[in-house]
């Protein structure tokens, strides 16, 4: 077991700043648009149409949002299942980001549901339809959100001084941690399985059939690592704390080999399916495929040496690229490579985009609030600069 020299402490400090103000405004704008959406319907706000029934609210807010929120999952997998205790300081902040990512993904599904007042049907015997991938995703994500709140509850319980409850919970925590690893494995893979039923409507470059769940699961784990590096770097710079590079470097090594395995898997799968030819056609799909692949391959090159993985800047750039790659894979699968027939076009409306931005803003805002007031980030000396 790892020792915990840096026990988490609330950061303290003032919540109000130009940044939080800006984020607040963005979140408020999204709120106003959402009120409008609930009064006048989806069509009044979004550019959704029957050729693209799912827009960025699903592709980004839910599919990508939850994948980017896989930091908690990846770290739990690493620390508790693969028993890499040295990454422990990263767990709680990662879990917090995941908590917000997932909770908001779950909530933003409601924004996108046309008949949102019926959403409970998914969990209701008699309505629930177990053959549906969507059913599985919905149930798993909902369960995971609950599990994450339980996993994260020690932070609140500490603050509120509820020691008895905390102690009891601690004894059962291992079970929730196991659940917290199983559930994301299930729904992150299923987010890929969602595409299986689209069949021929998906461009051959993303029509991986039975490998879709594997591809989405591996990239979700990858994204989890990348996000942890990204968030650790950002919060170190943002809150003027010591960089966590020494912890991040070995993490980056694990990430690197996962990445190598993924790229190999992806390329072999495409070649084996005989879809490689379509990557060289003069289409937007091919173009965005190469952008996606570049986002995965460039870190594979730049982070190849242990030395490179010690550089905070290279780590940061690599993590950003990986996040972008995971983002592109999902955007490509759900939007760019989704071809329901000729004649359809979709690009999110400004209002639609503002809602997504508002949700992200709200997420960051809540993160800042929590780390300032609850024990999340490891107590550490201010940055030495």
């Amino acid at each position: 077991m790892a020792n915990h020299a840096h026990a988490p402490r609330p950061l303290g400090g003032s919540f109000l700043s130009p940044l939080t103000l800006l984020l607040g405004v963005l979140a408020a704008i999204a709120g106003v648009i959402l009120v409008y959406r609930f009064i006048y319907g989806l069509g009044a706000v979004t550019n959704l149409n029957d050729g693209y029934p799912w827009g960025i609210w699903i592709a980004y807010d839910v599919v990508i949002g939850s994948a980017l929120a896989c930091g908690g999952y990846s770290m739990a997998l690493l620390v508790y299942i693969f028993n890499k205790g040295q990454y422990h300081p990263l767990v709680r902040p990662a879990l917090l980001a995941s908590l917000f990512g997932y909770t908001l993904a779950g909530v933003s599904v409601i924004f996108d549901l046309g008949r949102w007042w019926n959403f409970w049907h998914i969990f209701w015997p008699g309505y629930a339809q177990v053959n549906s991938v969507m059913f599985e995703v919905a149930v798993c994500i909902s369960a995971y959100i609950v599990v994450m709140w339980i996993e994260f509850s020690p932070a609140f319980l500490e603050k509120w001084g509820m020691k008895d409850v905390r102690q009891k919970l601690n004894k059962l925590l291992f079970f929730f941690i196991a659940l917290g690893v199983l559930l994301p494995s299930m729904h992150q893979s299923s987010l890929g399985s969602l595409l299986v039923i689209f069949g021929e409507q998906i461009h051959p470059l993303w029509r991986s059939g039975m490998m879709l769940p594997v591809i989405y699961l591996v990239t979700a784990i990858l994204l989890g690592f990348a996000v942890v590096i990204f968030e650790a770097t950002l919060s170190s710079t943002g809150f003027k704390r010591q960089l966590e590079t020494p912890v991040l470097t070995p993490l980056a090594r694990i990430m690197y080999w996962t990445l190598a395995a993924y790229v190999a898997l992806r390329v072999i799968e495409i070649v084996a399916r005989g879809a490689l030819g379509t990557a060289f056609a003069a289409t937007w799909q091919a173009f965005w495929f190469w952008v996606e692949m570049a986002c995965f391959v460039v870190p594979l090159v730049t982070l190849a040496s242990e030395n490179a993985r010690r550089s905070a800047s290279k780590l940061f750039v690599g993590a950003v690229l990986l996040m972008l790659g995971g983002f592109m894979l999902r955007v490509n699968g759900f939007l760019v490579g989704y071809m329901t027939g000729e004649g359809w076009s979709y690009f999110p409306s400004l209002a639609e985009l503002m809602v997504t931005i508002g949700i992200i803003a709200f997420e960051i805002l809540a993160y800042i609030y929590i780390v300032r007031n609850y024990p999340v980030l490891p107590a550490a000396q201010p940055a030495s600069r």
Binding site: G43, I122, A138, N170, F175, S185, I197, F198, T340
Partner: protein, 325 residues
């Protein structure tokens, strides 16, 4: 960290999911079979004259609103099926449009409405059983009260049939249900009822297949008679001349079969119908789901392994440890 735990974890956590997924393609579940008393439509593009009587009748029978695609909003001019339109007639135009049912310099008409797949993607995709396939007559129906409006069915259907009323705060899916609400009055699909040339026919799939075989056996130009309305209903047939049919009956094999079958003189791909493989996507998707989650065996096994490992690695900490782990 010891090797044994690591090994166990990798075995349990990753392998179960991966092997489950990887072994699927060889054993995808079969397409669902055609229901015994399946009913459907026969659309013969060579008989369709593009009068759009079916479009108007469909609107009336289903109480759908008018839809405008022109500046002057005088009459119903839907461009495609939509939340407001369950059935349209589209025109194939090529070059000088001299001859009907010819690909080059010709034209043709094609109906677009629900195909009533034998193994429908929308039913498989719907998480709340709002889309259902009647086990007897095979009609794919939609229940607004169950629907959550997730539009997975819209995205999943390879024909792009379920449509959504985006402009409503209480939206719903719109799709042809073969006028199932009129059946109790002894009526049938309004589109077939009004079709002046019998281009759209209602009937059991068995009767439809017989009629298709009969038409395909005719020589182009041969005098024959074409039924109108409902196959097996009152005789409304009229004398006509057989057209030159393609050898392809759309919906016979596509996607595990559909209960709307189509004949044409122009290739169906040119008429906007996708070239689909004979297996249904629902079969593949459901097989995948059942392999991974069938009886919840795999998830429970994995959870057991993970709990075992996590229990070893997560130790209830003392008060000052301040963290789980």
């Amino acid at each position: 960290m010891d090797r044994r735990t690591f090994f166990k974890a990798s075995m349990a956590g990753g392998a179960a999911l991966a092997t489950g997924a990887a072994t699927c393609p060889a054993q995808a579940r079969d397409n669902n079979p055609m229901p015994a008393d399946a009913v459907g439509l026969l659309f013969d593009s060579t008989l369709c004259v593009g009068c759009k009587a079916c479009v108007a009748a469909c609107k009336e029978a289903n109480g759908m609103p008018l839809e405008f695609s022109t500046k002057d909003q005088y009459w119903d001019t839907p461009l495609d099926i939509s939340g407001k339109t369950l059935n349209v007639i589209k025109a194939y135009r090529n070059g000088k449009m001299e001859v009907k049912d010819r690909e080059e310099n010709g034209f043709a008409f094609i109906k677009k409405s629900c195909m009533h797949c034998v193994d429908p993607s929308c039913v498989s995709a719907c998480p709340v059983s709002a889309m259902k396939k009647d086990p007897k007559n095979g009609i794919v129906t939609y229940d607004k009260e169950a629907c959550i409006g997730c539009r997975y069915c819209v995205a999943a259907c390879p024909f792009g049939v379920p449509r959504f009323t985006y402009d409503s705060p209480t939206p719903q899916i719109s799709k042809c249900q073969l006028c199932v609400h009129r059946h109790k009055d002894g009526k049938y699909a309004a589109c077939a009822e009004v079709c002046p040339t019998g281009a759209t026919l209602y009937g059991t799939v068995a009767d439809i297949n017989k009629e298709i075989a009969r038409r395909k056996a005719l020589k182009p130009g041969e005098k024959t008679s074409f039924p109108r309305g409902k196959l097996g209903g009152p005789d409304q047939s009229y004398p006509g001349v057989a057209a030159k049919y393609l050898d392809h009956t759309y919906g016979e094999k596509e996607f595990g079969g559909t209960q709307m079958l189509m004949l044409s003189g122009v290739s169906f791909q040119k008429l906007g119908y996708p070239d689909l493989p004979p297996r249904s996507d629902a079969a593949i998707s459901e097989k995948l789901q059942h392999t991974l989650y069938g009886g919840l065996i795999a998830p429970i096994a994995v959870l057991g392994a993970l709990t075992f490992i996590a229990k070893r690695n997560v130790k209830p900490e003392d008060e000052e440890g301040s963290q789980h782990g």
